[in-house]
Amino acid sequence: MSFKVAAAPHGHSQKKTNQVMAWVVFALIPGVIIQSYFFGWGVWFQILIAVTVAYLSESICVWARERSARQALRDNTALVTAVLLAISIPPLAPWWIIVIGTLFSIVVVKQVYGGMGQNIFNPAMAGYVLLLISFPVQMTHWLPAAPIAPYDLGLWQTLHTIIFEYTPTGYDVEQLRTTVDGMSMATPLDGVKTALDQGKILTEAYQQPMLGSLAGIGWQWLNLGFLLGGIILLQQRIIRWHIPVGFLAGLLVPSFLAHMFAPSIMPGPIFHALSGATMLGAFFIATDPVSAATSDRGRLLFGLLIGLLIWVIRTWGGYPDAVAFAVLLANLCVPIIDRYTRPTVYGHHSGAKHDAE
């Protein structure tokens, strides 16, 4: 009787890649719900379109590479990329924005570089940056949060806007952002930055309507929601603490120090922590395993680098939010970080050689 031949080890811990990715999506849900509460139904439609386009494009690419499409889709990584990109863009962005972004992320950034596990850049962030640079108008049309929004769009109106770029009643997105007194509502980060550039001091900048008690209205809750998701991931050991801690340290420590020295013009750590895509970046984007560093020390360094870059770009750079750029720049540094943070192997520690006495 002949028996099955297999390679050792013959047992396995149960956590598989598709389950890991599924957990990531699951942990995003609290944040997405908060986002839809404050900023409307748009995010759900964006996710829907993104996921569809991602799955379609990935299966075509994998089929063209003569691999099993079912295999490739099974690991749920395309799902995560699509959802992250959909969350990062303005909820009322036209449908073709998310389509272009997703196509670029999946086809160019991921598949062309070699498929799962081989991409150098974070696909979602690379897609975001492409969109931001190519279509700056649509990509900066963020809506004000619900408590301060002049209009409240229903499900059909949101869908209509995404498809046709106008609400059924004929308003375009720019108009939706404008309050009754003609003020165009920017994001909190944008608003603070513009005010500082105009020479105002922080306390004045914080008077703007879109700012709440800690940071932007709606945005602070959004970040807390993603923080919750991040803690879920940590607890489930889906991600390790090194990148988030490095990230937050790299962002908050300089901002804390800067705020101490120049409190009138440097926003403090709480503001930075709860604005923009900070928590999303710390727990979901920077922790993308494929494009991050590999060793623990390397990851701390990687996270620190991202955090620092975000602070620098937010403070002195041209863009209000900087998570995407910072992540991409750090991705470029990963090979050298990996090379110099290799852990010492057993038996190679200096002083490990003993002379027998």
Partner: protein, 624 residues
């Protein structure tokens, strides 16, 4: 060194990085007392069951052997001898599939037990302390004791190191899931194990012995604690349960706080480690004069009706063990020799238990689900988290797939202990250890090929040098001969000029030379290839020899000619060069026969495509 001493004195247990906690599943097998397996119908004993060379077989087929009788002699090869596990008859000495992952065959002695179980003469030696250490080492070697913890290194060689030993560590950790052979041995034979430990301590001359047991074996701990109570220089160390704490390098790190330097052995640190099973075997060898002929094997897995530990005679086929324990195979059943982390699958169960077999595991798909398809590496780093050697398995995997051997060296692939922890946690189910094993074997093969190529190059160059040298020597000789001849001629010319009547001498010398040249030319035409020699060979014998050789070569030439004229009648192929063959008749007969066979074979090859012509045997043999 000092810090190791301090650490050990303090009794601390250090930690090693990484490690995993797979489900232990030692029960129900660990709760059954040891049983003895009856002798199977045939016992298959591979000549080599250890690291090192096998011995020379000293028995013949059909010979009757007694239990414990040595079957091989390893004296010359520094290997280990093999012994008959029971009395019986040697049924065969032949190639049998090995108990190895490859399934490759190797030479084995097959014994049919006769049921009498008759021992050879035994001389118990209770007084081991009276004996010389070298004598004890010889006894251990002659008893075939190898490391029973899994690697099978000859114990006597390990103990025979000339370096001082500060600590003897006895490894009762048994960290791999399912396996509980050492556990049962410690519970039931504690005193014997301790006696073995004393013998080992005596041989190594060490002051302190440490006995390490994992904390998931409370009964074994109690049993051993009682047995070592009377000895001050044996200390018990209980290590927390983690896989792979029982690995030699990891255990040393736990007990001493220090790492074994890469590519060095623990003896360099003054440490020797032996398994508890080996200690037991040492006691049996030295005190009871029993060679290594059986060992404890764990039989476990859901597809076995009566899991437990058994004393299995070496050579028992695995199928006999499974039958004994009640085997209920499933679809796609795996039969694993070893544990779930480091064991290998057996394609057939007709392979025997050897000295390094500690477990036969037959899992169901429910308890150990077979891995799914390999997915792409997502660089999650889970593998690096659990690696006890602090390697970077995902890097190693990329490099192994790319066959980048220099980079693998740089990343310390050979420091991997192949424990399987990385592959166990990989979310993409990549068979990491398999890739490393492949890469390691390819690298070793490459190094071997490289060494061989170096050797071939050296030999080629030496040969070129030799041919050059011989040519030079030949030219030298000719030059000297020519000079000598010239001198002789000059001398003769001188003599002739002094004594003109000696013309005949000169002309006879010349005539003799001419005669020789003629004879040589004649011989050459016959086909002889003897080179020109200075004038001192006996012509007659030479011509006989050269004639015989000439005849042989004639025949060969003719045979080759026959090949050219494709598949005609073969009788003509033999040339009738039979003139001067009387002295060399037998030889040429043999030669002719050989040529005939060769010719036959060549023709048979040629006629493979056209079957109509049967190869006819030439009847030269009758002719001579």
């Amino acid at each position: 060194m000092q810090d190791i001493k301090q650490f050990v004195e303090s009794g601390q247990i250090a930690r090693f990085p990484g490690g995993i906690h797979p489900p232990e599943r030692k029960q129900p097998a660990s709760e059954q007392p040891l049983r003895r397996v009856p002798y199977a119908d045939e016992l298959i004993l591979p000549l080599r069951q250890h690291i090192g060379l096998s011995g020379q077989c000293t028995v013949r087929v059909g010979e009757r052997v007694l239990k414990g009788q040595p079957l091989t002699d390893a004296a010359l090869h520094q290997g280990l001898p093999l012994h008959a596990p029971t009395s019986g008859t040697v049924k065969a000495i032949e190639q049998r599939p090995m108990s190895h992952a490859s399934g490759l065959p190797e030479q084995a002695i097959v014994i049919t037990p006769d049921g009498e179980d008759k021992w050879r003469e035994r001389q118990p030696r209770p007084d081991y302390q009276q004996r010389d250490k070298a004598e004890l080492l010889d006894i251990i070697q002659a008893a075939g004791v190898a490391g029973l913890g899994g690697a099978g290194f000859p114990t006597s060689q390990k103990l025979a190191q000339q370096k001082p030993v500060s600590y003897l560590i006895i490894n009762g950790v048994e960290c791999e899931p399912y396996i509980c052979a050492d556990d049962r041995l410690m519970r039931e034979h504690a005193r014997d194990i301790v006696l073995g430990m004393r013998i080992l301590a005596y041989i190594t001359g060490t002051d302190k012995t440490l006995l390490a047991i994992e904390d998931n074996k409370p009964e074994a701990i109690d049993s051993m604690r009682v047995a070592i109570a009377e000895y001050d220089d044996i200390e018990l160390r209980i290590v927390p349960t983690k896989y792979p704490s029982g690995g030699e390098k990891q255990l040393i790190q736990l007990l001493t706080g220090h790492e074994v330097p890469s590519k060095q052995l623990p003896i360099e640190m003054g440490i020797i480690m032996q398994n508890v099973g080996t200690a037991f075997a040492v006691k049996e060898a030295v005190i009871d004069d029993k060679p290594l002929i059986e060992r404890v094997v764990t039989l476990t897995g859901e597809c076995i009706e009566q899991p437990g530990n058994v004393w299995s005679p070496l050579g028992t086929p695995v199928d006999a063990l499974l039958e004994y324990a009640g085997f209920k195979p499933e679809q796609q059943q795996r039969v694993i020799m070893g544990g779930p982390m480091m064991g290998f699958t057996l394609p057939i169960t007709a392979v025997p238990v050897i000295k390094t077999t500690n477990c036969i595991l037959v899992p169901s798909t429910r308890e150990l689900p077979p891995p799914g398809d390999e997915m792409a590496c997502i660089r999650c780093g889970a593998c690096a988290e659990v690696c006890p050697a602090t390697l970077q398995p995902q890097q190693l995997q990329w490099l192994a797939k790319a066959k980048d051997y220099p980079a693998l060296e740089e990343n310390n692939l050979f420091d991997c202990i192949e424990c399987g922890a990385c592959a166990f946690v990989c979310p993409s189910e990549i068979p990491l250890v398999h890739y490393y094993r492949q890469a390691k074997s390819q690298m070793r093969n490459q190094a071997r090929e490289q060494a061989k190529a170096e050797l071939a190059k050296k030999r080629f160059e030496a040969r070129q040098a030799r041919l050059e040298r011989e040519k030079e020597e030949r030219l030298e000789r000719h030059r000297k001969a020519a000079e000598a001849r010239k001198q002789m001629q000059q001398q003769q010319a001188q003599e002739a000029s002094e004594q003109p009547s000696d013309n005949d001498g000169k002309s006879s010398a010349v005539a003799a030379a001419i005669a020789r040249a003629k004879a040589k030319k004649a011989a050459q035409e016959d086909g002889s290839s003897t080179p020109a020699q200075p004038a001192d060979a006996e012509p007659e014998q030479k011509s006989k020899k050269s004639a015989a050789v000439a005849a042989a070569i004639e025949r060969a030439k003719a045979k080759k000619a026959a090949q050219q004229t494709a598949r005609e009648s073969d009788v003509e192929a033999e040339s009738p060069a039979t003139e001067q063959q009387r002295p060399a008749q037998d030889k040429s007969a043999a030669v002719a026969a050989a040529i005939a066979r060769a010719k036959k074979k060549k023709q048979a090859r040629e006629q493979q495509t056209s079957d109509d012509r049967a190869s006819q045997s030439p009847d030269q043999e009758d002719k001579q």
